[in-house]
């Protein structure tokens, strides 16, 4: 919100330097995002008349302009072209410093010496326009040589750009900012005089009665009740509405001071009536709506729920459909519709008026609506219609239901014309002031400071919280009875409102003055096993030369189908990018895209991993308690470096499994042709001994790789590893090596090499297991060191060469013992995997 200092000063004598005021506002939670100095730096700028324009030889972007600024002809070099001889333009003479800090020097360009600079609106800090010079319209007293500020009627001022939090509708106006600021600076807050009492006209839905007002003067207009009617059918949506009528209004431009303030506050002046309504909203925070009384088919207003599919054309020209429930939670399509007395819709209550009754140049009689709308209802309607207006933003945060009268009165003061005596006022259940009992002990237990009752009263009293000290009670503490002003809808009733009042105490006391204390507690801080091991996984992968990536959670249907997952996926109702509406089910798409990004940038050694969540559709059998998607945390690795393939992926898997202490025997790689997105003949699932699949390892299917990474060099493969971290780190799923260390033998070991011929289909891993199973406890290790096919091995068979190392803890093995081990292994593998010695 833009708050001009001169306007704030209507309410209290703010004489402190602007920087101090800005700091004070910050400390009050009215954060100043910027301070604008209007008219500053324009002191030296004068009005000049263009007397001649000439080309400069050899230059096509600049021209020589002869101007007169009251001191005879001066030559200026200028690049703009939007003016003609006779125009009045701003001249910054040599030596002037412009608002942006630029000091004008005498410069010579193409042999022409420039005696200053002709300025654009942006260079002067007046407008955003930089397309050409600010051409000054003719006007009284605007002659060459006068100060630009004088010519434009610019009075130096300071505008604070204040951010008001959503819970402070009271502060979202000039009066509100001034109230807080005056209270903190302990200045008298004069405010506006309260609206003169206007006798309310009790209004009944059927027949608006004639007000019992005597005429104020012989020419006074008829009382409001004879000019207009007001019926409010649905007072849950509109708990209070008032109507006033102004006659003999003038819809010409507003007085200069008022228009100027609107501009400084960021609004465009339109006509006296609309401006007055906007002015009141900016000043007091209460939106009002003026109708052209004579354009209402029935002279008066009826307020009711919109019927299903009812339409109204709003001031922005759009036809809005109302009364239809939206998708939002709890939105039952309840919209507050304003109709004229004949029942024709003329506006959406609290959001936007309709075109049919808009104020025009021809308007002479105005019906002013000033109302209090139910905040939640405004919020729902505004959200569903996608229509946020100055009014809706204020009403949905909550206006002061008892501030309406003053706002309407202020409008009548500013709008001109003559106000018809009286006011139509229909009330439903209007929120009453909240009264709370605030134990002072509670203040100290929340804030950690001791404040006496009169101190609290002196802090929050000036911002409208009336406090009365209640005598000490049996429980020993003093209590303040606090009456919350009706412009503070953020303060809840008791008990939660007590904290709201305490926040006001803290705010007015000053957060910066509150004490600090480092709390302590006996429980030690720690990471969980899962968190430590997740770190370990990432560290191990880094150690293996793999970089961590962070890829998008949202994917397209093409991403999913490329990754072989075209089945059901969780869909985002309102995706940011319309063709990426799905939550990822795999990290394959993201990592392959990241590989592509780097391959396209000619990066080498592209090896990436990610730890991330994937989402599955909720389980149907058995049904879940809620409709939440099923989340799994995956670790995935894409290896696209030189020479990488399924083998490197297995290496990475071994490194990872080893680091996590996973027992190799508890997990097997089961070749599987059906793993989505993976190479059918070079991939396997990682399966636990109990049959649980914890991941997959292998290669990305070459077709998938080509789809995601078109730039992948011929013959390059992408090794792939993916594991469900939740399962992998769950010791009830995957068994771990015991913590206890195995003793190491002090005696020499003996190696036995065996070349075993087995069927092609028999995995080496299975053969190694068979060796381990038959090797007995003397077998220290088994490693495959050669694979051979062809020759004497025979078709459909392969020779696997293993090195077996035998060792005993308590002695050197004899040749006979080693030979016995060897024959036992040979018998074992012959029986279990049909292996024969080559």
């Amino acid at each position: 919100m833009r708050a001009p200092l001169s306007w704030l000063k209507d309410f209290a004598p703010f004489d402190a330097p602007p920087a101090v005021l800005a700091e004070t506002l910050d400390d009050l939670g009215l954060v100043v995002e910027g301070v604008e100095h209007i008219g500053e730096g324009l002191e030296g700028v004068v009005v000049a008349r263009v007397d001649g324009i000439a080309a400069i030889a050899g230059a096509d972007r600049i021209r020589k302009v002869t101007v007169d600024a009251g001191m005879g002809p001066q030559e200026i070099v200028c690049g703009a072209t939007n003016f003609a001889v006779g125009d009045l333009v701003p001249l910054a003479p040599v030596g002037t410093t412009l608002p942006g800090g630029l000091t004008i020097g005498r410069r010579t360009m193409r042999g022409v010496t420039s005696d200053g600079m002709l300025c654009s609106g942006r260079e002067l800090g007046l407008t955003d326009d930089h397309a050409g010079l600010l051409v000054i319209g003719p006007g009284e007293g605007i002659v060459p040589g006068v100060q630009l500020t004088e010519a434009l009627g610019i009075v130096p001022d300071i505008v604070f750009d204040v951010t008001v939090e959503g819970n402070r509708p009271d502060a979202w106006c000039i009066a509100g900012v001034a109230r807080d600021l005056a209270a903190r600076l302990r200045l008298p807050y004069t405010g506006l005089p309260p609206a003169p009492p206007v006798p309310p006209v009790p209004s009944v839905p059927t027949a608006p009665p004639v007000p019992p007002l005597p005429t104020m003067s012989p020419v006074a207009p008829a009382p409001v009740g004879s000019l207009a009617s007001l019926v409010v059918d649905d007072r849950d949506l509109c708990p209070r509405m008032t109507v006033r009528v102004l006659v003999d209004v003038d819809t010409g431009p507003s007085p200069t001071w008022l228009a100027r303030r609107l501009v400084m506050a960021g609004m465009r002046p339109i006509n006296r009536i609309v401006d007055a309504s906007n002015y009141v909203m900016l000043e007091l925070g209460q939106p009002t709506h003026p109708y052209d009384l004579d354009r209402l088919a029935g002279t008066g207003l009826v307020v009711r729920r919109a019927r299903p599919a009812e339409t109204v054309q709003t001031l922005d020209g759009v036809v809005r459909t109302l009364g239809t429930p939206g998708r939002s939670l709890g939105d039952r399509g309840e919209d507050c519709l304003i109709c004229d007395a004949a029942g024709t819709p003329v506006g959406i209550g609290g959001i936007m008026g309709g075109t049919s009754s808009e104020i025009t140049d021809a308007t002479t009689r105005v019906l002013l609506e000033a109302a209090y709308f139910t905040p939640m209802a405004i919020a729902r309607t505004s959200k569903r219609l996608g229509l946020r207006t100055e009014a809706s933003i204020r009403f949905e945060r909550g206006c002061d239901p008892w501030g309406i009268d003053r706002a309407a009165e202020r409008f009548c003061e500013l709008a001109g014309g003559t106000a018809a005596p009286g006011v139509l006022d229909v009330r439903g259940k209007v929120p009453d002031p909240i009264r709370l009992r605030l134990p002072l002990a509670r203040v100290s237990s929340v804030l950690g400071i001791e404040l006496a009752g009169d101190e609290v009263a002196s802090l929050i009293g000036p911002i409208g919280f009336a406090c009365n000290l209640e005598p000490r009670e049996d429980d020993g503490g003093d209590t303040l009875v606090v009456t919350v002003p009706t412009n503070r809808p953020d303060v809840r009733p008791s008990p939660h409102g007590i904290e709201d009042v305490i926040e006001e105490v803290a705010r007015t006391y000053g957060y910066s003055k509150l004490p600090r204390r480092q709390p302590s507690w006996p429980a030690p801080g720690r990471l969980t096993d899962r968190q430590r091991e997740r770190r370990l996984v990432a560290d191990v992968l880094c150690g293996m030369g793999i970089d961590e990536a962070w890829t998008p959670a949202f994917v397209s249907s093409a991403d999913l189908s490329h990754a072989g997952l075209s089945g059901p996926a969780v869909r985002v109702a309102n995706p940011l990018v319309s063709d990426e509406p799905f939550l990822r089910r795999t990290l394959l798409a993201g990592l392959c895209r990241a590989v592509a990004y780097n391959v396209d940038r000619r990066q080498e050694h592209v090896r990436l991993f990610e730890l991330g969540t994937v989402f599955g559709t909720p389980r149907e059998h058995p049904p879940q308690a809620s409709e939440l998607p099923i989340e799994r945390e995956l670790v995935s690795v894409a290896l696209a470096g030189t020479g990488d393939d399924a083998r490197s992926a297995v290496d990475v898997w071994c490194g990872l499994a080893g680091a996590l202490g996973l027992d190799r025997r508890s997990m097997t790689l089961e070749a599987d042709r059906t793993i989505p997105g993976l190479h059918p003949t070079r991939s396997a699932r990682v399966v636990t001994s109990s049959g649980e699949v914890v991941g997959a390892v292998g290669e990305v299917d070459p077709e998938v790789a080509r789809a995601f990474v078109p730039g992948l060099a011929n013959g390059r493969r992408i090794g792939w590893l993916e594991a469900d971290l939740g399962l992998l780190l769950d010791s009830s799923v995957v068994s771990r090596r015991p913590d206890l260390v195995l003793p190491v033998s002090r005696y020499p070991s003996a190696d036995v090499d065996l070349a075993l011929v087995v069927d092609e289909e028999t995995p080496a891993g299975r053969v190694a297991e068979a060796i381990e199973d038959s090797g007995g406890e003397l077998l220290e290790s088994v490693h495959l060191f050669d694979v051979y096919r062809g020759g004497s091995v025979g078709q459909g068979r392969k020779s696997l060469a293993f090195r077996l190392r035998f060792c005993a803890l308590d002695r050197t093995l004899t040749d006979e013992e080693v030979a016995a081990c060897r024959s036992r292994v040979l018998e074992g593998v012959a029986a279990s995997v049909n292996a024969v010695l080559r």
Binding site: G29, N167, S444, V446, L527, C542, G543, R601, E631
Partner: protein, 349 residues
């Protein structure tokens, strides 16, 4: 008479002729071995008369000692020369390794992971445990229990991605890590394990078009303390301790009033600008302070929603962006670099 001088002279000539350890060994054999002139002369001593034998014997002995010493010295010299030669041939310019294509190097943790770990470690050191939760949530956990009922204007603060699951707008991607607060408190109340002292790092989602300072998917860390006698002073002290511990002893914190539906009183906290250390610069708009996060006392409505007995327990919560911390610390001009996965970016950390 034995000409010891000549024998010694000839022996030294042999020694001098040797240019390698091998030749030297051969020469030594030649000169001092069993068949050498010296050995022959020694054997011929017996044919001399006693006086000559004595003189020549001593001369021969002395000559042998001198020659042995000369050979030992020559051996050392040649060995040194040969080693020098070998070493010279073995010379390696190690800086080649510095500038060559390094091939497979160590991998790099993502800068966000590194930042998250550093933040977690700081808080663990302050006695916090680390809690996590799911990224999709129900309306109750993401909004309602946090004192944000349906249609509350505060929902406008959180542009939400809703999932097409269940009734419309009932399941969403969490817009903050705060739902985990609700889970922690519900669980602690059910299990009777209050107090709670936890930080909650994690991924959050808001439907904001990404720009240099915002991502639609981002990381937050928040803290929750619910214990006996916790006041706003404890919150301010915790933030100040954290600020000094994580950013450095010369970085301080300050509070100003703010609004969050789930805390009351609420504050925004700023820290000394980490770039100019408080001097004032472009980043902090000359104020010497930069905004870091939000905090406050847990709202009584939140404690009531999860059934925490407010006559015994009170608490505070705070939260801020992990990505933002990374951005500040490393001067990352555009946040979108964090999700581009450009190795030239990732490998700088």
């Amino acid at each position: 008479m034995i000409d010891v001088g000549r024998i010694e002279h000839e022996a030294l000539a042999e020694l001098d002729a040797a240019s390698s350890l091998g030749e030297l060994e051969a020469a030594e054999q030649e000169v001092l071995g069993k068949r050498s002139g010296l050995a022959l002369a020694h054997r011929s001593l017996g044919s001399l008369d006693p006086e000559q034998r004595r003189v020549s014997g001593r001369e021969l002995h002395e000559a042998r000692l001198r020659l042995e010493q000369a050979f030992a010295e020559a051996r050392r010299r040649l060995a040194a020369a040969e080693r020098a030669q070998l070493l010279a041939e073995d010379t390696l310019d190690l800086s080649e390794g510095l500038v060559a294509d390094p091939g497979l190097r160590r991998g790099h943790l993502h800068v966000v992971t590194q930042t998250r770990r550093a933040l977690e470690d700081t808080f663990v050191g302050m006695g916090f445990s680390v809690a996590e939760g799911s990224e999709a949530e129900t309306d109750w956990y993401n909004f309602e229990a946090l004192n944000i009922p349906p249609a509350h204007p505060a929902r406008g603060m959180f542009d939400t991605f809703y999932l097409e699951l269940g009734e419309p707008e009932t399941i969403m991607l969490r817009t903050h890590t705060s739902p985990v607060q609700i889970h922690l408190l519900e669980d602690a109340v059910a299990a009777g394990t209050l107090p709670v002292h936890a930080v909650i790092p994690g991924r959050c989602y808001r439907r904001d078009t990404p720009d240099a300072r915002h991502l639609a998917v981002f990381h937050q860390i928040e803290g929750l303390v619910v214990d006996r006698g916790i006041t706003f002073a404890d919150l301010a002290g915790t933030i100040e301790t954290f600020t000094g511990a994580y950013f450095g002893a010369d970085i301080h914190s300050r509070f100003r009033p703010a609004y969050f539906p789930f805390t009351e009183p609420s504050a925004e906290f700023e820290i000394t600008c980490t770039l100019c250390r408080g001097e004032g610069c472009r980043t902090c708009s000359g104020t010497g302070w930069i905004e870091l996060g939000g905090c406050g006392m847990v709202d009584p409505a939140v404690l009531d929603a999860v059934g925490v007995d407010r006559s015994t327990w009170s608490g505070f919560a705070f939260g801020f962006g992990i990505d933002r911390c990374a951005q500040m610390r490393h001067g990352i001009a555009d946040m979108r670099a964090l999700v581009e996965n450009d190795l030239r970016f990732l490998r700088q950390f």
